[in-house]
């Protein structure tokens, strides 16, 4: 089965497994190697070159994300040459995108800028005027592609190919003109795209970004993330609700990192985007009771609860408890379902309690 051997990374002797990359071995030992175009869920592209490391016996540096370890390999990740390369690569990519962090961030996190802050750059670079193009008329509701921020790392297209497996987007054109497009430059909603938003999630520069969050305008680091469980299907994806506290508002929904929860960093269109309902003006905001004229009119909680208890007790007195039915909900929490059946069984001594279990 799996053969294992040893590698030496920065002087640490590590066991490694056959087929493993330098990056994987290093991560297990908590040795940090920066990456831009890498994602654990995807096959390596070796496109961005930020992860280059030195390997003894080889003149060229090699990408840690795409190079497999071999037993006895000696790797160095902290050398002046490695550092110089990181700064050089970061400058190169920055010159190819928006350089000003504040501009670049408007609500889209940018790993590129984070890394530039962390590892530094090699001085000022004149921006390349990149001729990348967006799609002429893409009126899809969720995804804004801003070509001037793209570094053609292909994370988005690989995600769409390999994880969502619908291949709705693709790299188009060559060289500095390389851009992300669709077949015949059609709007996303006319393609096989399922609006999962995964491409937005993996983009390291904010070139793929969420329209609604963009319009909200606060940088992501000013939002508070609240971890919770999705309220749609039975997969139980973990979500991070990105909340603007001062406005009491869920601005967008992101996934916890891959490898940490049951959804492995992925979400579907409902979990990621169908959150408008939370702050919708149609939400019920006050109790209603039916008046003499047969209309539902606003009431206080006290009045409404009184009506509820009178109504339920009235039926129980006149027709017996088994004339009452309690329908609970798979949309509510476990605790709420517990209380509903307790209300039926202990409050009214009936087992007439159920929920729409099948749908």
């Amino acid at each position: 089965m799996t053969e294992s051997g040893f590698v030496i990374i920065d002087g640490n002797e590590l066991t490694c497994e056959e087929g493993e990359t330098i990056l994987q071995a290093a991560r297990r030992a908590e040795i940090e190697i920066p990456t831009l175009c890498h994602d654990d869920r995807l096959t390596p592209a070796g496109a961005c070159r930020i992860c280059l490391v030195e390997i003894e016996g080889s003149n060229l540096m090699q990408p840690a994300c795409a190079t497999r370890v071999s037993p006895g390999m000696v790797v160095r990740t902290v050398t002046p040459r490695v550092d110089r390369n990181r700064q050089f690569i970061l400058s190169l990519h920055l010159a190819d995108t928006i350089q000003d962090r504040n501009l670049a961030e408007d609500n889209s996190p940018s790993r590129l800028h984070d890394l530039a802050e962390r590892y530094g750059t090699s001085g000022q670079w004149t921006p390349v005027s990149s001729p990348r193009q967006g799609r002429p008329s893409d009126d899809n509701p969720y995804n804004q592609f801003r070509p001037d921020r793209c570094i053609a790392c292909s994370l988005c297209t690989r995600y769409c190919d390999q994880v969502e497996a619908v291949s709705a987007i693709t790299l188009a054109f060559k060289g500095a003109r390389t851009t992300i497009s669709t077949a015949d430059e059609r709007p996303l909603t006319d393609t096989t795209c399922e609006l999962c938003g995964g491409c937005i999630d993996v983009c390291p520069t904010g070139a793929m970004t969420e329209k609604a969050a963009l319009a909200w305008g606060k940088p992501e680091r000013e939002l508070e993330k609240v971890r919770t469980t999705c309220n749609f299907c039975g997969v139980g994806c973990q979500l991070d609700l990105n909340v603007d506290r001062s406005a009491n508002r869920v601005v967008k929904v992101t996934s916890p990192p891959s490898g940490t929860t049951v959804n492995d960093g992925n979400l579907c269109v409902k979990g990621r985007f169908a959150n408008d309902f939370i702050h919708h003006s149609d939400r019920l905001q006050e109790p209603l009771i039916r008046n003499e004229a047969g209309e539902l009119v606003p009431a206080t909680w006290d009045e409404a609860l009184e009506r509820v208890s009178e109504g339920l007790l009235g039926v129980a007195e006149e027709h017996g408890s088994d004339a009452l039915a309690f329908i609970s909900s798979s949309r509510c929490t476990g605790e709420e379902n517990y209380l509903m059946q307790k209300l039926a069984r202990a409050g009214f001594r009936t087992h007439n309690v159920h929920q729409c279990a099948a749908t």
Binding site: N140, P141, V163, T189, E194, L195, C196, R227, T228, N231, F232, G234, V235, G236, C237, L241, V250, V262, N266, V269, K270, G271, N275, I278, H280, D282, R283, L284, E286, P287, I289, L296, W301, A304, L305, V308, S309, L312, L324, I327, S328, S329, S330, C332, T333, E335, N337, L339, Q341, L343, R345, G347, T350, H351, N352, V353, H354, Q355, A358, T359
Partner: protein, 547 residues
């Protein structure tokens, strides 16, 4: 699910039946795609050419409602070719011979005439399933929403038991739950037959225990399930209804009858986040908080209890359902402990249900989601069930015979109508339809019709048509599609203005009462396109109620 979601990617054979996974459970579908990319073989049994069939090795396009025939024929292949796992089934199961005898009467050739699936394909899939170690079965409502839903599940579990695909990683029997907390609602005892933790209400000792804990003697009258409730509302046995977080006027089958019955009730409370369709029948409407505005737990398909955390304040005077329920309990005279919040409510439940005894909000916060059973503080999360042999002694084989759907086609209603959900909407769509993006992608109701049928009827793609069953009539757009079989039509049930459930039958499964949403007889009528403008679109249900 007997297995865990992350195990799917390691499977070598997947049998997906009655589940449009990419639409209803996209994240599980991603795991399936991953398995296939790794080289796993995939067999999909579904009347429609759903997306997964594009990457499947086999598509068994069976006639709706003929699942038992297909599954018994697969079992037939296994037992006649000696592919059963003798050693395992002798050690772990009972009653194999009864099933063996039954399935011997279900030959693949005959199955072909009933189900429309080639005998050869049935053979191949049965062989591949039986001979692959990591082989899992995945199903959803396409299996359960039939009058023979329970039989379908037995037929599946017979396959699992005879091949010993249980108690192993990536192999087992996996129902994918449709709603976020179906599992959790059942776990919590929102069921006439179970107290929390699947303790039987029919068992006097169980009733004794809960009676003592709650200080109220428990009733020994059997409760009604949802399907029976709907009927009891109609015949006067039920007089009052407390409805929380469900829109039965959209979601229940044969809804015309449900509406009539709701009108007859003396008292109806509806508690929800929106003014849903059922609110029209309410005496009191209580505004509830949504999931982003409260704390608690949801339990997903793989029995994973996970936290729901409050992120924002509820609008206006809306309050979390648990707070409202506690208030109601107090008002009707049921004294309640002063819970500090949902975590204490959970602890009370865990103290009464051994399966959850080791689960608490604190522990989930520390360790992440926990998969029950977790029987004590020291017990760990259970990734897959039946690891140490079948639970509760031996796995029991249950022979099942095919029984036709409640309603069969006839010259007047020649088409089989099935219903389901789509990727972009969710149930009654009260939430998803308020998302602009989802509505642009899929703005309105439609009915899928096979091109050959459409040609016969003279129906164009996108034209308005009436779908008619013995119970109602619904107007919506025709979508010409090869996804459906020739004699079948398919509709989503999310749209209040074209309520599919005016058409469906409320004939329920004999055990669970689950409605037969997947099969009813219907016909398509063309309508005068000039008169049938968008404006007449919403009006279809009034007529149905009268009729």
């Amino acid at each position: 699910m007997t297995n865990s979601i992350p195990e799917i990617r390691e499977a070598d054979f997947l049998f997906v039946i009655g589940s449009n996974t990419t639409e209803a459970h996209p994240i599980i579908a991603m795991e399936m795609k991953r398995a296939v990319q790794r080289g796993a073989r995939l067999a999909v049994a579904d009347p429609r050419a759903i997306w997964l069939t594009e990457i499947a090795d086999w598509h068994l396009q069976l006639k709706p409602g003929s699942d038992v025939w297909l599954l018994n024929a697969m079992a037939h292949v296994i037992v006649t070719e000696g592919l059963e796992n003798r050693q395992w089934l002798e050690a772990n199961t009972e009653n194999f011979d009864a099933v063996r005898e039954t399935v011997l009467r279900y030959s693949p050739e005959e199955a072909e005439t009933v189900t429309g699936v080639p005998a050869q394909a049935i053979r191949e899939v049965a062989r591949a399933y039986a001979s692959t170690e990591k082989a899992g079965i995945y199903y959803t409502l396409g299996i359960t929403e039939h009058t023979c839903g329970t039989d379908n599940v037995y037929a599946l579990s017979n396959l699992v038991l005879m091949t010993g695909h249980l108690g192993l990683r990536s192999s087992g029997l996996n129902p994918l739950r449709g709603q976020n907390n179906v599992q959790g609602a059942n776990d919590s005892g929102a069921s006439p037959v179970f107290y929390p933790g699947y303790q039987r209400a029919a068992d006097p000792e169980v009733r004794e225990k809960f009676g003592a804990a709650w200080g109220v003697e428990q009733s020994d009258t059997t409760g009604l399930n949802l399907n029976e409730m709907m009927k009891a509302m109609g015949d006067g046995r039920l007089r009052g209804l407390y409805l929380m977080g469900e829109d039965i006027v959209i979601s229940e089958p044969n809804v015309g009858r449900v509406e009539k019955a709701l009108n007859e009730l003396d008292f109806v409370v509806v508690q929800d986040i929106f003014f849903n369709e059922s609110c029209r029948f309410a005496d009191v409407v209580l505004p509830a908080a949504c999931f982003a505005e409260k704390d608690g737990v949801f339990t997903n398909s793989d029995r994973r209890v996970q936290l729901v955390n409050r992120a924002v304040e509820a609008p206006g005077q809306a309050r979390p359902d648990w707070e409202i329920l506690l208030d109601v309990m107090k008002r009707v005279g049921l004294k309640q402990p002063e819970y500090s919040g949902p975590s204490e409510i959970y602890s009370e439940m865990a103290s009464l249900a051994p399966k959850f005894a080791g689960i608490s909000h604190r522990r989930i916060g520390r360790e992440g989601g926990l998969q029950w059973p977790v029987t004590s503080e020291d017990d760990s999360s259970t990734e897959y069930l039946h690891k140490d042999g079948v639970l509760r002694g031996k796995g029991l084989f249950q022979p099942v015979e095919y029984s036709p759907p409640f309603e069969e086609t006839d010259p007047e209603y020649p088409l089989i109508l099935s219903t389901g959900r789509t990727l972009y909407h969710y149930n009654a769509a009260t939430q998803t339809r308020r998302s602009e993006g989802l509505t642009t992608k899929q703005p309105e109701a439609f009915v899928e019709i096979h091109p050959s049928n459409a040609r016969k009827l003279g129906v164009q793609d996108g034209q308005l048509v009436d779908v008619v069953s013995r119970r109602g009539r619904v107007r919506c757009r025709a979508m010409i599609s090869r996804q459906v079989r020739r004699q079948a039509i398919w509709m989503p049930f999310h749209f209040p203005e074209a309520r599919t459930n005016y058409l469906t039958t409320d004939a329920g499964d004999k055990v669970t009462g689950t409605g037969e949403y997947k099969v009813c007889a219907a016909r398509i009528e063309t309508v005068d396109q000039a008169a049938a403008t968008q404006a007449s679109f919403p009006g279809s249900y009034a007529a149905a109620v009268e009729g």
